[in-house]
Amino acid sequence: MAIMEILQVKQLSFAYPDEQHQVLRDITFTVNEGDFVVLCGASGCGKTTLLRQLKPELTPVGQNHGTIYYNGNLLNELPAQQSAQEIGMVFQNPDNSIVMDVVWHELSFGMENLGYSLPVMRSRLAEIAQFFGLEPLLYKPIHELSGGQKQLLNLASVLLLQPKLLLLDEPTSQLDPVAAREFISMVYRLNREFSTTVIISEHRLEEVIPLADQMIMLEKGKLKYSGSPREVSQQIQTHRIHDLKSHDDLSDDFKYLPSVTQLFWTMQTEEAYSDLHIPLTVREGKQWLQTLDWNDGAVHAIANQSIPLSMQKMQSPERSKESILLECREVTFQYEKKSAEVLKKLDLQIYKGEMLAILGGNGAGKSTLLQLLAGLLKPRRGTVKQADHVKIGYLAQNPLLYFSHDTVAEELSTAAHYAGVAEPEVVIAKLIKQLQLEGLEQKHPHDISGGQQQKTALAIVLLLNPDILLLDEPTKGLDPLAKIALARQLLELRQAGHTIVIVTHDVEFAASYSSRCAMLFDGMITATDVPSTFFSENVFYTTAVNRVVRDWLPGILTAEEVLKLWHVPASG
């Protein structure tokens, strides 16, 4: 018997009512039962819209064309009850998809809706609670749970209905890397152990792509690539070589591949390559590098070289006593009298012109530290000392906190007014251009995309003309391209004389763009150094590329750095 096709999408197009522009155009693909499908593409390319088309209850009103078959029958003829049971959906923000106040009640919510009998509910709940390790949390109020626990709870409450098809819309975008990895491995386990078909849209592709049976890439509502991850990477490479030859603008699709695969393809000259040899994971990457001839003269010379000094200097400004803008001296902080100390006698200096990345686990106190630096919180003991006339701008994780007006333009002009900007129109126009916010001026801040909201909030902060810019998790929920754009903007700001401090979980981002990294652990800064030294000492807290090449090129963190050293293409 042939493999069952659980889902068949044929020439699907969709437009919102009264809009000419089609959000989805002519999309065709099939999903086999038990497949793990990764859906990727830039923000706003139609990933969420597509997922909603696959869940009849959530399909937005608009003009649909094309057909979707679920198990051989038309999807929109599926009875509501069956659809609720068999197609499960997990949303982006764990907070918003929770409905009840206590864990057991949230878990039973779906089953109650479908009118299950008590013994059925009991046995299913027992099973799932054990599978997810939720037993100790069963009677807890949900607001006491961490973000990762909440998202696992969402997944569990969907699974209690025993879905055949599981749709996940960027489920890890609000989670820290550790929780995200745990969540994805749980989804993968469900896929392997129960053959649940999974369609997941993600930005954290490094971890998901190696797991996928099928990868679907959308661009502006159209299906651009589809196939196994290796096939897709091959297609992207073919496209790239073509662009290189014809001197067109390089397509950014390449950035969606795992960094090991990127490294692999940039070091290849041949267009085609045997599928099997394309590395997707660190392990495969190392195996590939072992096949290279490291005794080749050119390669050998590079391998023995430590990082060229020129590369470090370019990034790291001078650090002297005079250039300290902001300094923490033995800062101790706790939220309540009885709660634990979040920061313990923490010392940290921030130097003029640098971009400092503060890394640390979840709940290590990174956000607290940033708020202390911004002067929003006062330390219990110790001092946060500013150099004279230093202005500080603070960008919180959630840009929605900044918006209180009806249009982006109004937000900016009030901010300019508050900051006492001399020529508000000129300054605002310049900022809008710099941050690429053109055309959004008359939109409501809640109606624009997450990345655009973040940039608007950044513009509000920049109007204060701060010397030091403090950013809390600026890469959270951004797709790879938006991250690069953000990095470019931060670089421009640094060149314009701003000092930047970010707290982040994003090791790749910190390694690629910061000039200095600090590790926050147990309430203290345990290590600070330039990225190359900082990360090359770590085994876990380092970039994927570093883990691949460290035996040969210690201190190298990104694919770009490898390429800078590697002008001679080598082949195995």
Binding site: A80, Q85, F109, S157, Y402, F403, S404
Partner: protein, 292 residues
Amino acid sequence: MTSGFRALHPVTLFLFYGGLLLCGMLLFHPVFLLTGIVLLVSLIVIQKHGGTIVKMLPLYLLIGIAIVVINPLISHRGRYILFYFMDQPITLESVLYGVTMLLSLTLILLTSLSYNYNVTTDKFMYLFARLVPQSALVVMMALRFVPLLRRRLSQITLVQRTRGISVHEGSLTKRMRDGMTLVKVLLVWSLEEALQSADSMKARGYGTTKRTAYVVHRMDRRDRWLTGCLSILILVIMVGSALGWGRAVIYPRMQSMVFSMEDWILYVCFGIYMLIPVIVEGKEWLSWKYSK
């Protein structure tokens, strides 16, 4: 701590406190009320939340003194005049009535303290949900929003301060305007997110068929047995009280406080009623103490 009296089924607990409230109002007799207070306080102490009594004390004293002092001043009924205060006769009856009223109030207050400790919100919601499932669902969803909105508001306050919007500085009108802005940000944000909650409900089949309810609390033999006992005792107390037993006659003229036969019957019933939680809790305590 979820063992002992707290571990009883919510229906049993609810019945106990309902009955106790009724007793506090029906049994208007200082001896009954004092017995009730002593046993309830011992329950509270055994359950180790005596601190709640201490916290309530200042407010309680204020109300208590007011009642004891005000009643004789405004009521001059009674036969035995103790003394004259500003030409007003102060009678023994009115003083005693005030004291009894105070005792009744004390019992009711202590009942509410112990109730809050033993019948937590989720237990109450559980009972409520069985009676009116739809409204209970709405209430439960609303309950989730209380800590959520509070947390969001504190975040908004922190960030908006960097934009010069703060309720702590500036003129009164500016502060009020800023306060409104903060609430507006909170509401717009929360409404936006509520749409997603609605999607999540729909995705899990809300409204497709008639809802059932998941039951976490099971009624065991002890629960059933105790519920039976409590019900019978309450019934006896209600009937007895309707017949005028267990009630001190103070107005218009004070009668003897000595118990009649009927009073004794009622007193024993009330005593057993009040002893039930103490025994349940005490048994638990003993079993822990001697199990090591």
